[in-house]
């Protein structure tokens, strides 16, 4: 009878072992983070401006997950993300800044300096003062203006390349193992931007200093880059200018006999018609500040180049309408 | 049983001495020692017990020449042969009645405190009427109770010789008789010799013999 002892013990041991194994977390019960970490292999990059998002996507390709979480229909200049969205920015591996005070909400947000990449740091001295904003004075500090430097540096392909370079450098610093990948992404982007640069330069040369109007003062870098004889207004494409604005414009036109007005977006047909009557043709030059269904940054800049190239060909005689 | 031969004891002061040419107490005999206060009754008991030593002569108790033993041997002798009831009971105040009764067994390595001893202590306490006070601290007892507890302590080691110094001094007449009864009973039960110092003349007729210490008074010889 005593010979049964070890056998019973062995069976009991096996049953116990089976139970223990059954209770072990199986494949399906793995904590959710395990699988997610594989996806997190991609660098999480947050941008504060659409062109930076585009640059990072071009440079990083599949290795990065780039976000610019602006809701549709919001002007990036006026966008201020909620604290919850800022918390998402906090969680990013890199936050791409345009620098020069673009995205003023950054001034009020808590972000880890280590993860901030100021893409304009390479051309601080070439930044332009913004003409917008209201100065005010109250209290002992005296006068101060809520205005920084002009944004939209990316409208100058030369500066865009510098910003893209900064993005590439930052990605390489964070993930040196993917340096070759990032460098080839950057090289392709740089080629495209250089192509744009050449087209704008040729077109500007053909323009030969002819006066132009821009509907809004967001183009100073573009104007400076190609030494354009341009003046900026404060007109919104979706609003027909008031009588007073027209009067002001006619005075300006007398001093600055431009034949073209470049708009941020297609203007109201009334505005367009009135301008035509003054011998000024409307063109659209997309500042590419926000994502659009009409194409990515490069598509839209190429369309801008086409529009810009078309100025010379379509030039109507200034006196023909009068 | 007890024999004092040519014993002389000198008090340190006063030029006063006891001189005992010969004193014999037989085994089982009961003796009362009388005399006025300060006449040397206690000294006589202490000479017999070996607590005090004579200047000359021999004290032989139970065949042992007590005054010739060294200190340790005399203590050994006392604890094994004598039961002592002191004039002021000399209980240890912080011990219970039972622990006081058992004290001889706790202060001498040669005596073993076993269950026999304990039951004897209980029987003795029953006998003298303090069995309901065994756990009480000695300082909380009445004079009579202390007296009876002291008697129990003297009897616990079943001594051959019982020396009691005024054991009835502070007792009411009933209790006097009762304590004496116990002493006599114990002495007769174990054929012990009983020597009791007293100045209570009413009790003397219970003793077989009465010794008056005045007989032994002597002017000290000036040397």
């Amino acid at each position: 009878m005593s010979g049964w002892g070890p056998i019973v013990a062995a069976i009991a041991g096996l049953v116990g072992l089976a139970f223990a194994l059954a209770c072990e977390p199986g494949e399906a019960e793995r904590p959710p983070g395990t699988e997610a970490s594989a996806r997190d292999e991609r660098l999480r990059v947050f941008a504060v401006a659409y062109p930076l998002q585009y640059f990072a996507e071009r440079i990083g390709g599949d290795a990065v997950d780039v976000r610019f979480p602006i809701p549709t229909g919001i002007d990036p200049a006026e966008w201020s993300p909620s604290a919850e969205v800022v918390a998402e920015y906090q969680a990013a591996d890199l936050v791409l800044l345009n620098g020069g005070g673009y995205a003023q909400w950054l001034e009020r947000a808590s972000l880890s300096r280590r993860r901030l990449v100021d893409t304009s740091v390479g051309f601080r001295k070439r930044q332009l003062r913004d003409s917008g904003g209201v100065q005010h004075a109250h209290g002992p500090e005296g006068e101060h203006a809520h205005a920084g430097v002009a944004p939209m540096t990316w409208l100058d392909p030369e500066l865009a390349i510098a910003q893209a370079r900064a993005v590439a450098d930052a990605l390489i610093t964070v993930r040196p193992s993917a340096a070759v990948h990032f460098e080839s992404g950057f090289a392709a982007l740089e080629r495209d931007l250089r192509g744009l640069e050449r087209r704008f330069a040729v077109a500007a040369q053909e323009l030969g200093g002819a006066p132009l109007f821009f509907s809004h003062p967001v183009y100073p870098y573009f104007i400076r880059a190609y030494d354009l004889n341009a003046r900026s207004l404060h007109w919104e494409p979706q609003e027909v200018p008031t009588e007073a604005m027209w009067a002001e414009f006619r005075d300006a036109l007398a001093e600055h006999p431009a034949r073209w007005m470049l708009w941020e977006a297609a203007p109201e047909s009334a505005s367009k018609a009135l301008l035509e009557r003054l011998g000024v043709r409307s063109h659209v030059f997309d500042p590419c500040a926000r994502p659009s269904e009409s194409g990515d940054y490069l598509d839209r800049m190429r369309r801008n180049a086409e529009e810009f190239e078309s100025l010379e060909v379509n030039r109507p005689p200034p006196s023909s309408v009068e | 049983m007890v024999q004092l031969c040519e014993v002389e004891f000198r008090y340190p002061v006063g030029g006063f001495a006891l001189r005992i040419p010969m004193l014999e107490v037989a085994r089982g005999e009961s003796v009362a020692v009388i005399g006025p206060s300060g006449s040397g009754k206690t000294t006589l008991l202490q000479l017999i017990a070996g607590i005090s030593l004579p200047a000359s002569g021999t004290v032989t108790t139970n065949g042992t020449p007590v005054n010739l033993l060294d200190d340790a041997a005399r203590r050994e002798f006392r604890i094994r042969n004598l039961g002592l009831v002191f004039q002021e009971f000399e209980l240890l105040e912080y011990l219970s009645v039972l622990d006081n009764v058992l004290l001889p067994y706790r202060i001498h390595p040669g005596l073993t405190l076993d269950s026999d001893v304990r039951s004897r202590a209980l029987a003795l306490a029953e006998c003298v009427g303090v069995s309901n006070k065994l756990d009480r601290k000695a300082r909380k007892l009445s004079q009579g109770e202390k007296q009876r507890a002291a008697v129990c302590r003297a009897l616990i080691a079943e001594p051959k010789l019982l020396l009691a110094d005024e054991p009835t001094g502070n007792l009411d007449p009933d209790n006097k008789q009762r304590v004496l009864d116990i002493l006599f009973e114990q002495a007769s039960d174990s054929h012990s010799t009983l020597i009791v110092v007293t100045h209570d003349r009413d009790l003397l007729d219970r003793f077989a013999r009465v010794i008056d210490v005045k007989e032994f008074h002597a002017e000290r010889v000036k040397s």
Partner: protein, 393 residues
């Protein structure tokens, strides 16, 4: 032996008041130096641990100890300010990671520390609830601060004015609690953490107010010259930053001159640390860089010296106590002469009596020492907690 101990114990148990006093005296006199050593050792350990976890500290020229106490333990007076430019300078040096600290305000008794997110990673603070601050006006609380102020995520905390008679116009700012850290048992538990920019807003260096160009502000506008609008003091200044008014908050002047009370510098390696220290050795530099560990070691050396004197004093007091105890014992022997005599008359040996008396002394000493030992164990187990509470309170 049992009998001897029995009698000794009976005596001690009977005179229990005397015994308790003797045991207590012995226990105290043994425990005091031991406990002092344990507690000083542990507090030194904790102070040192915090200091050693903070490699370098940059602050205004002045007392290094004040700088360390202010920046590590949020105690002591507010040191002179250094400029934000120091943070940028350290960062640009590429030698160390700077972590700004601006600890000058309090929310009731709790320090409000303006810093950056890096601080939390650096100190290894874990969130127990909510999230870290994301925008100005939000705060994250240390565990004790949250408990004391009885707030959690979603509640608000009000900053206290710098002083009661603060006329400079530092208005209290109501801050939204967005997270609470788990207890770290460091001074961080006491802190109300905000972004350094929020600290600047409390100082009045940044503010939010009505849009002066808006119609509602017309009454406050004194004059308008072109783009320059001058307003009077009735302009509504916000004392709480909400999602509705946050966009109106802005900072004036040159950010690089904004004040900090200290900057923790975490060197990328040992060599960088040495190089960074070298940069501050030039006499024209108005800032100092210190190794908190060195500063605390100096402080602790002083504490240890004081401790040595205290232990010596306790030693003398102990000798006095023992002498007194001996006297008490000798006096009690005189009272017990009769009792001793009785024992000897019955047949007990003087050696036996001595053994009983020695046992009494030994029992008292052993009980006293055991009691002191228990106190010392308690001190070492709970003392460090108590010290942490003391340090963090």
């Amino acid at each position: 032996m049992t009998d001897v101990l029995f009698l000794a114990w009976r005596y001690l148990a009977h005179y229990r008041v005397k015994t308790v006093i003797l045991v207590a005296s012995i226990a105290l006199i043994v425990f005091l130096p031991v406990g002092l050593n344990v507690l000083v050792g542990q507090s030194a350990e904790q102070l040192t641990a915090r200091a050693e976890a903070t490699p370098l500290l940059v602050g205004a020229m002045g007392s290094p100890l004040e700088l360390v106490l202010s920046s590590l333990y949020f105690e002591s007076d507010v040191p002179d300010a250094i400029a934000w430019a120091e943070v940028e300078a350290i960062e640009d040096s590429g030698l160390a990671q700077p972590i700004p600290l601006d600890a000058r305000f309090r929310a009731r008794t709790h320090p409000i520390v303006g810093t950056s997110l890096e601080y939390f990673d650096f100190r290894g603070l874990r969130l127990a609830e909510g999230r870290r601050m994301a925008v100005v006006g939000e705060c994250v609380l240390g565990a004790r601060a949250a408990a004391d102020l009885a707030v959690g995520a979603g509640d608000t905390v009000l900053s206290s004015p710098e002083s009661l008679f603060d006329l400079a116009g530092v208005y209290p700012l109501r801050m939204r609690v967005v997270g609470v850290f788990a207890a770290s048992h460091t001074p961080d538990d006491q802190v109300v953490f905000v972004d350094v920019k929020t600290s600047w807003i409390i100082q009045g260096l940044g503010h939010g107010h009505q849009d002066l160009a808006a119609a509602g502000a017309a009454a406050a506008v004194l004059k308008q010259e072109g783009d320059l609008i001058t307003a009077n003091a009735s302009v509504v200044q916000y004392n709480e930053i909400t999602p509705e008014n946050i966009d109106s908050f802005h900072f004036h002047g040159d950010l690089s001159e904004y004040p900090l009370t200290g900057v923790i510098a975490v060197p990328h390696d040992d060599k960088s640390g040495v190089l960074l220290m070298g940069r501050f050795e030039r006499p024209e530099v108005a800032t100092q860089i210190v190794r908190p560990a060195t500063v605390m070691t100096e402080l602790l050396d002083t504490i240890f010296t004081v401790r040595a004197y205290v232990v010596a004093a306790i030693g003398f007091a102990g000798a006095g106590t023992l002498a007194t105890a001996a006297l008490v014992f000798l006096l009690s022997l005189r009272l017990r002469e009769r009792e001793i005599e009785t024992i000897v008359k019955i047949g007990g040996s003087p050696a036996r009596v001595a053994a009983i008396l020695v046992s009494e002394i030994v029992v008292v000493l052993v009980l006293g020492a055991a009691f002191a030992g228990v106190l010392a164990v308690l001190a070492s187990r709970y003392g460090s907690e108590a010290i942490r509470m003391w340090i963090t309170s």
